[in-house]
């Protein structure tokens, strides 16, 4: 394969990784800080995409930039509502009950989406400035895909700054690494959970909003993304944003490699990646092992 084609493949893998990272980052924070596997995370992603399509079809393509912010905010509000009304009731229950609660919300959100937006799939056009392609060597690469990578990088940067330099960020890291100590130090853990969950929902909505112009938007989106997102989180380690970034890169690259070497087996490659990583580091690459007390 020529150098040119390899570069295009790499950029394509980065696009996949970028989209996955935005979604997985939210999932890993919730999973790591709250110890909850939120299956409804896929629903938040889908709602982000649907809201963008509704805003753009109502207000025209100039509304795209506004909807990139408005849609995730609306989804964050939805996440806030879910945390306050549903999750708070199951924090003291066992993990299986919590999982079932998020799965129940997944089903409810799916049915609501079907009623509100219907079964017809939708398409969103990217704004003109992001349409078209650039030339990489002799080949074309979509400008919008590069935009996805840029947004992912900005999200990564923003989260790094949050976790490194802000009080909220320190508390989140503490919740991931040592939840008992956090409560003992007097932190309002309940409020922290609400904030983390809302942030997670925002990120999922943002992931859906950014990917919207690249997809057919329909009611299958919630299930389609959740498995890949979980694999990224597991590979990268629960609660680690850096892990989510690395995990997303690994998944993107493995999928690209799989497609190039053995197209018939390509979908299996990301599961292979997960198995390999878990063998070497059972808690994920940057994961924190659960210390028994």
């Amino acid at each position: 394969m020529s150098l040119n084609s390899a570069l295009i493949e790499l950029l394509s893998a980065m696009t996949t990784a970028g989209g996955l990272f935005i979604i997985a980052a939210g999932l890993t924070l919730v999973f790591g800080a709250m110890r909850i596997a939120n299956i409804a995370h896929g629903s938040f992603y889908m709602y982000g995409a649907f809201l963008v399509s509704t805003l753009v079809s109502t207000f025209g393509s100039t509304a795209f930039w506004v909807s990139l912010v408005a849609a995730p905010l609306a989804v964050a509000a939805l996440g806030f509502a879910m945390e306050v009304l549903v999750l708070r009731r199951v924090y003291d229950k066992d993990h299986l009950t919590q999982l079932l609660a998020t799965y129940a919300m997944f089903l409810i959100f799916a049915d609501l989406a079907l009623r509100f937006w219907g079964a017809q799939s939708r398409a969103v056009a990217a704004p003109a400035i992001l349409s078209g392609s650039i030339q990489v060597g002799g080949a074309s690469f979509p400008v919008y895909n590069l935009f996805v990578v840029v947004v992912a990088a900005l999200v990564g940067l923003g989260l790094w700054a949050l976790l490194r330099f802000t009080l909220l960020g320190w508390r989140i890291v503490a919740a991931v690494e040592d939840p008992e100590m956090l409560a003992a130090k007097g932190t309002n853990v309940r409020m922290l959970y609400t904030v983390v969950f809302t942030l997670g929902a925002f990120l999922a909505g943002l992931g859906g909003a950014v990917i919207a112009p690249l997809q057919s938007i329909d009611t299958g989106l919630d299930a389609s993304i959740i498995v890949a997102a979980f694999i990224v989180v597991v590979i990268g380690g629960l609660g680690s944003v850096a892990g989510a970034a690395l995990g997303a890169l690994i998944v993107g690259l493995f999928e690209a490699l799989g497609i190039l070497w053995t197209p018939a087996w390509a979908p299996a490659f990301i599961y292979l990646a997960m198995i390999v990583v878990l063998q070497v580091r059972p808690s994920g690459i940057f994961g924190v092992a659960e210390t028994p007390w």
Binding site: M1, S2, S5, I8, E9, L11, S12, A13, T15, T16, G19, F106, L107, A110, D111, L114, A119, Q120, S121, R122, A123, A125, S131, G132, S133, A139, S140, F141, P142, V143, Y144, N145, I211, P213, L214, Q215, S216, D218, T219, G220, L221, A223, S224, I225, G252, E255, A256, I259, L260, P263, A264, A266, P267
Partner: protein, 427 residues
């Protein structure tokens, strides 16, 4: 996962049955039909299909066509004096759900016949259950060749071109109208198809038929994304890296829309010519973003004028739903017509008599006169192949094809001998 939610009437017959029981206890005698039709004045037909996910629109639009046919049937006095009732459920494209759904419809809703699902994997599961419980089943969407060969039972009928006929038709069109322009130069072909039986069979048969027709070509790349995959970026760049002249894409429904959108950013259509399953949904959703000049195939294109009954149906459907009928709405409507014909000819709902009445019969439908071949219950219907236009057609308010050619069944069907050979080999 939303497949566990059921739609439509649940146990309509049990509520009627309750009414019958009350009537009987009051000393009123009621005749209940022997083959399990529910109370005296209604009869139930069931369908499990995909109503959620990326191909939800396919199942949903087929239900619209089916319900319209049933409404008209009932307006004209029903079937053997009984009103037809439709029960439907979502299988989410999972075979186990499809089997459970139809079993429920047969045992609880007392369905006397079934219509097939959207996907072939569910299709073979539904066919098996229909065979076990002896119910006529009409496949108007799923078209796996197994349905009429290795999995065939006396009660199953395939009403659309199967996974042998369809790719053969596309290959014929390609060999006769596209390849000659290359003047014998070797054509580079790549394929991308969902990774399950429909996809693989369609691609394999397309390639095999091109060889048989002595087209000078080579396969430079083959991709197999999962059904319902949402990210085709890496597949697209892998395809382009192999520098094909044509890409044969057996992707359909919402996935085809996703693929086309993602491919456009790579200037796909400037470099390769697509061969794809572009039907009403893709053309309406993509509109002017369609790949102009792509070769396409369809099983029942609404823009092809048919008999008077079809033209009237098309007008009435558009008036009712503000949408042109998809291939699935059209084939679904014809499925009800075919079942009704069989019941009327047999004079009963008895499955064996209905099946016998239909095998080898020629039935008038909105798709023209359809002959159901006796040796394999395959409808002798054409496959439509043509060229996509991305210009809005003023008659329809959406793009249609610039050219549409009907490839007849006589060119594409397996011979009865070939079919029988496959029938005796149970996969």
């Amino acid at each position: 996962m939303t497949s566990l939610m059921r739609r439509g009437l649940l146990s309509a017959c049990s509520s009627l049955g309750l009414g019958a029981a009350v009537a009987v206890s009051l000393g009123v005698s009621l005749l209940v039909a022997a083959t399990g039709a529910c109370a005296a004045d209604t009869v139930t037909i069931g369908i499990s299909t995909t109503l959620s996910g990326s191909i939800a629109e396919l199942g949903r639009s087929s239900l619209q066509g089916i319900q319209m046919a049933i409404d008209r049937l009932n307006a004209n006095g029903g079937l053997l004096g009984k009103k037809v009732v439709l029960v439907s459920a979502d299988d989410g494209a999972f075979p186990a759900n499809g089997a459970n759904n139809v079993r429920h419809m047969i045992l609880v809703d007392k369905a006397v016949a079934l219509l097939g699902p959207a996907t072939s994997a569910v299709g073979t599961a539904v066919e098996t259950v229909a065979g076990q419980y002896r119910r006529p089943v009409f496949f108007h969407m799923a078209n796996d060749i197994q349905i009429t060969t290795s999995n065939l039972n006396p009660y199953a009928f395939e009403l659309v071109p199967n996974t042998v006929m369809e790719p053969r038709a596309i290959a014929y069109y390609f060999a006769e109208r596209v390849a000659p322009k290359w003047n014998g130069k070797k054509i580079r072909l790549a394929t991308i198809t969902p990774n399950y039986s429909y996809g693989r069979d369609t691609v394999d048969t397309f390639i095999k038929t091109l060889h048989e027709l002595k087209v000078n070509f080579e396969v430079v790349s083959q991709q197999y994304p999962q059904l319902g995959a949402t990210d085709y970026t890496t597949y697209i760049s892998a395809l382009l890296a192999s520098h094909p002249d044509y890409v044969f894409a057996a992707i359909f429904g919402g996935d085809l829309i996703t693929f086309t959108k993602q491919a456009q950013g790579f200037n796909f259509e400037k470099q390769v010519r697509l061969i794809g399953f572009y039907g009403r949904l893709a053309m309406k959703t993509l509109g002017t973003a369609l790949p102009d000049g792509a070769i396409a195939w369809n099983r029942a294109p609404f823009w092809v004028d048919g008999n008077a009954e079809f033209n009237e149906f098309r007008r009435a459907y558009h008036e009712k739903f503000n949408d042109w009928p998809s291939a699935w709405a059209i084939t679904g409507y014809s499925a009800i017509q075919i079942w009704a014909y069989g019941v009327k000819k047999a004079g009963t709902f008895d499955p064996d008599k209905v099946a016998q009445a239909l095998a080898g019969a020629t039935v008038p439908t909105i798709r023209g006169n359809i002959t159901l071949r006796a040796c394999d219950h395959q409808a002798e219907v054409p496959e439509y192949v043509g060229v996509v236009s991305n210009q809005i057609d003023p008659r329809y308010g959406q793009p249609i094809w610039a050219e549409t050619v009907a490839i007849p069944a006589s060119k594409t069907m397996l011979t009865c001998e070939e079919a029988r050979k496959l029938q005796s080999s149970h996969r």
